[in-house]
């Protein structure tokens, strides 16, 4: 696969070198330079669409913002191209962060609306703020491109654009293969699971939008210098749609797709002159057709075709990995985790799902939480993993207060969980799923990702080896390159455990891990829980399967109607009359029904 990418980059470089040599006239070269600028926008936008799964309909606004910033700093302040470009990048990036953070925190969908509005506002401001932007006439007489006082000729400027695009494509490609790219893809597929593994969806999405904003801003400055004249009417909503279409048509999430999409959509209008008024309609129709016929775009469809013709190997050699017992081993001096929950109360409207429930998971033990359906077990686990806010009460891990923390912060504090209804990153491979579990232990930054520094590669290689070791630990090494959604259910459960372990937790929460498993699989699960406990990881197990609990649990806590009614050794709990009553009822006992969602 990496050989194909190398060929792709060589081909891109060859095209970028050959075109100026082959072009007959200045118009042709100019049009190609326009394509390079559009491609820069598209490659940046692809980080947002392809990786984060979000849509911006205001790239033209950011493009305009960069263009005006560049033009104004050049004409008014006498900046050269470097200064103007940097200012534009900063301004666009700031606006990007300002737009994205409040929006993606709530719902990704909102970003589309916010960006449309932003695009309209930029257009309005450009028209109204005449003293700064020149109103409808725009800004004229932008000097020709210059760097540190040197004037660039047409070919030199072409070189700047071509090198910029080439480097950007490489940077975006590297980002995709880093923890940021994986994290973005994970958040787009299951925000819940991503949070539980310590990923901060808001931060990642904001980062993606800032990247898309900065590239659009820089492209805007390039455009101002290329055209030496800008006006509000060249940055309309239709242009935003066109940028979006470049990414979708070329293939979202692919490395070269946006460049190909930009090429097609730069040259297509040249051939569609006669369409005139129908041009906008044609963009809409093209977008619709692509969504139904080529939803993965040109490159995405080619990639899918290739993997169908030459399916990749599924398995991976366990010898490539680091033994899980090594990666998960604790320092002997390190204390084993203790979870203490005090008087946790959770109410949903008038419904009390959990009422002053207290529980203590002693260091290194396997603690089972049981109770009839609706007893509040899931509410408990969702509360201590930060998905629900407790109405009252507190909980802590080794004395660190976790109450009020967001899920991803709790996960980073050392608590990992699985889900009752498995929450895998379905379209990612089994190996990638586990590597995302190990994400929070990676330390390298955005710049290191883009440059693929040796330190970054070392960390990545270690993360990968650790993930392979964990796959071997749960017996999934034979499925490493399979997409997670194609695994049979029993194996999906094991994958969830491996993924949770990859976070190197001190406390592992298993939410009904035996549900839906065969007897044989439950036996395997039992052995696996023992092996996890032997590594010194405390386990909180929610389960219905009594035999499993009796076999592995050191302590059993019983919940009924949101209250803890017993907490003792399995044998003692089994004999407790209140527990028996809760499960089987006593004759004549009338409980007020207080069913709680499981």
């Amino acid at each position: 696969m990496s050989r194909l990418y190398a060929i792709g980059f060589l081909a891109l470089a060859a095209v970028l070198v050959a075109v100026p040599l082959a072009s007959d006239n200045e118009y042709e070269l100019r049009l190609f330079m326009l394509f390079l600028i559009y491609a820069i926008i598209a490659v940046g936008l692809n980080v947002l669409i392809g990786l984060a799964g979000l849509v911006s309909l205001g790239q033209a606004g950011l493009f305009a913002l960069g263009s005006y910033t560049g033009a104004i700093t050049t004409t008014r302040l006498g900046f050269d191209m470097v200064g103007a470009g940097l200012t534009a990048a900063i301004v666009a990036g700031l606006f990007g962060a300002l737009l994205a953070y409040p929006t993606v925190r709530v719902r990704g969908v909102y970003l589309a609306v916010v960006t449309i509005a932003f695009g309209l506002i930029v257009e309005n401001v450009a028209i109204e703020w005449q003293s700064l932007t020149g109103g409808t006439t725009g800004i004229t007489s932008i000097p020709s491109p210059n760097v540190f006082g040197l004037r660039l000729s047409g070919y030199a400027y072409y070189g700047v654009l071509a090198v910029s695009l080439f480097l950007l494509v490489a940077a975006a490609h590297n980002l995709k293969g880093s923890r940021y790219g994986r994290g973005l893809l994970a958040v787009a597929q299951s925000e819940t699971a991503a949070r539980a593994l310590g990923l901060d969806p808001t931060a990642l999405r904001t980062l993606a939008f800032v990247i898309a904003s900065v590239t659009a801003g820089v492209a805007g400055t390039y455009y101002a210098f290329l055209n030496s004249y800008i006006s509000p009417d060249i940055f309309t909503f239709t242009d935003s749609i066109r940028f979006l279409l470049m990414v979708i048509l070329g293939g979202a999430a692919s490395t070269f797709g946006p460049v190909i999409g930009a090429y097609i959509l730069t040259y297509l209008p040249e051939y569609l002159q006669e369409f005139a008024v129908w041009q906008k309609f044609a963009y809409g129709a093209l977008l619709l057709v692509v969504m139904f016929v080529l939803p993965r775009g040109i490159m995405g469809s080619l990639g899918a075709l290739r993997s169908r013709l030459r399916p990749a190997a599924r398995a991976i050699a366990a010898t490539d990995g680091i033994d899980a017992r090594t990666t998960l081993a604790r320092e002997a001096s390190e204390q084993q985790a203790e979870l203490v929950a005090r008087d946790l109360t959770v109410r949903f409207g008038g419904l009390t799902a959990l009422s002053e429930a207290s529980l203590r998971v002693k260091p290194g033990e396997v603690h089972a939480l049981i109770g009839p359906n609706g007893a509040g077990k899931s509410t408990f686990i969702n509360t201590i993993s930060g998905f629900y806010r407790p109405t009252a009460g507190a909980f802590e891990l080794d004395g660190i207060q976790l109450t009020g923390m967001a899920s991803h912060e709790i996960a980073r504090a050392g608590l990992a969980r699985t889900f009752q209804n498995t929450e895998l990153f379905g379209e990612m491979t089994v190996l990638e799923n586990v590597m995302i579990g190990g994400q929070q232990r990676l330390r390298y930054g955005v710049l290191a990702s883009i440059l693929r520094t040796p330190a970054m590669r070392r960390e990545e290689a270690h993360c990968r080896q650790a993930a392979i070791g964990l796959l071997a630990f749960v017996g999934l090494e034979g499925y490493a390159y399979e997409e997670a959604r194609f695994l049979p259910f029993g194996l999906q459960r094991r994958l969830e455990i491996a993924r949770a372990l990859a976070a190197n937790p001190r406390l592992l929460l298993l939410d009904e891990p035996a549900a839906g498993l065969t007897t044989q699989e439950i036996d395997d699960l039992e052995a696996m829980i023992r092996r996890v406990a032997d590594l010194g990881i405390s386990v909180l197990l929610i389960e219905h399967h009594v035999e499993l609990i009796m076999a592995v649990a050191d302590t059993v806590t019983v919940l009924d109607y949101g209250q803890v009614i017993a907490s003792d050794t399995p044998a003692a709990v089994q004999a407790d009359p209140r527990v028996i009553e809760a499960y089987f009822g006593t004759s004549g006992a009338t409980h007020a029904p207080a069913e709680v969602p499981a």
Partner: protein, 291 residues
């Protein structure tokens, strides 16, 4: 005094339009956790079609009724063809882009048909103006906020007292549980999109006599209606209607005392600020993610 009354009353009129559009977004979101991004074009279809029919000699009432019905049909068809095929995907790119694509096509087709000109929709509501507290308004403008409130109350009555209304609430609460209880979720979603579009088209018919019908008349109300839904809390019907009315009034004041461009900037900044301070909107409830 009369200036203030003027701004408040004409603000309520345009706010009523935002409220109706936002109510549509609320209905669609509740049913499908998806919306029609071409909802503004539903408004345009309603207004423009009514103006066309009246111009070709149809009686006003009949023209308006047909225009609203066609708008509703547009929502129904769009849900079926553009939203449903993508509803199961984990991210929302699919239905967003298909509805946007249809919106672009509809709007540019309307632009070509009208050649960019606006059409009047004569209505008895704009035949003469009335004076209230020194403010001059068309009766039509006074009727809009009243109708928006009526639509909200009607929706609540529908949800409380009819089978389909209760099914809508069940689907909004939990799609899977509703399906297990024998509710035809697809049908409820289709109904919700149609209902939302009827309201949107009605908003278009209501505003067309005041602003004239044109191909782009839906763009800003559609966008602001969504902004209002975000600010009010997309999960709350009264929330979005109240926010819509308030947004219209604020807009008129900014427009009157500052400028038209400032109107959009202030309105938009307001949305960002509200999102920062109230992530779930002013009246919205936090959706508890069940895991």
């Amino acid at each position: 005094m009369s200036t203030v009354a003027q701004y408040v009353l004409s603000g309520l009129a345009i706010g009523g339009i935002y409220a109706l559009v936002a109510l549509g977004f609320h209905i669609m979101w509740s049913a499908a956790r998806a919306v029609n991004f071409a909802h503004g074009d539903t408004l345009m279809i309603g207004g423009l079609l009514a103006a066309y029919l009246v111009a070709s000699g149809w009686p006003l009432a009949l023209a308006c009724a047909l225009a609203i019905l066609v708008g509703g049909l547009f929502g129904f068809v769009l849900e079926r063809l553009a939203v449903r095929p993508f509803a199961h995907q984990p991210n929302s790119i699919g239905w967003m882009l298909t509805t946007i694509a249809v919106g672009i096509m509809v709007e540019s087709y309307a632009t070509i048909e009208t050649q960019g000109y606006a059409l009047p929709l004569p209505s008895p509501g704009v035949a003469g103006s009335v004076q209230i507290l020194g403010a001059g308004l068309y009766p039509q403008e006074l009727a809009i906020p009243v109708l928006a409130l009526a639509a909200m109350l009607g929706l609540q009555a529908l949800q409380r007292h009819t089978l389909i209304g209760r099914a809508m609430q069940a689907v909004a609460h939990n799609k899977n549980a509703a399906a297990l209880m024998g509710i035809n979720v697809d049908l409820v979603v289709a109904f919700s999109f149609s209902l939302a579009s009827l309201l949107g088209a009605a908003a278009g018919v209501l505003i067309a006599p005041v602003v004239q019908a044109s191909a782009t008349m839906g763009l800003l109300p559609g966008l602001k209606g969504f902004a209002v839904a975000i600010m009010g809390g997309i999960t709350s019907a009264p929330g979005v209607v109240i926010t819509g009315l308030a947004y219209g009034v604020i807009e008129k004041f900014v427009e009157g005392y500052v400028s038209t461009a400032a109107r959009e900037i202030v309105g938009f900044s307001l949305m960002i600020v509200v999102l920062l301070a109230f992530p779930q909107g002013l009246f919205g409830k936090r959706e508890v993610a069940k895991v």
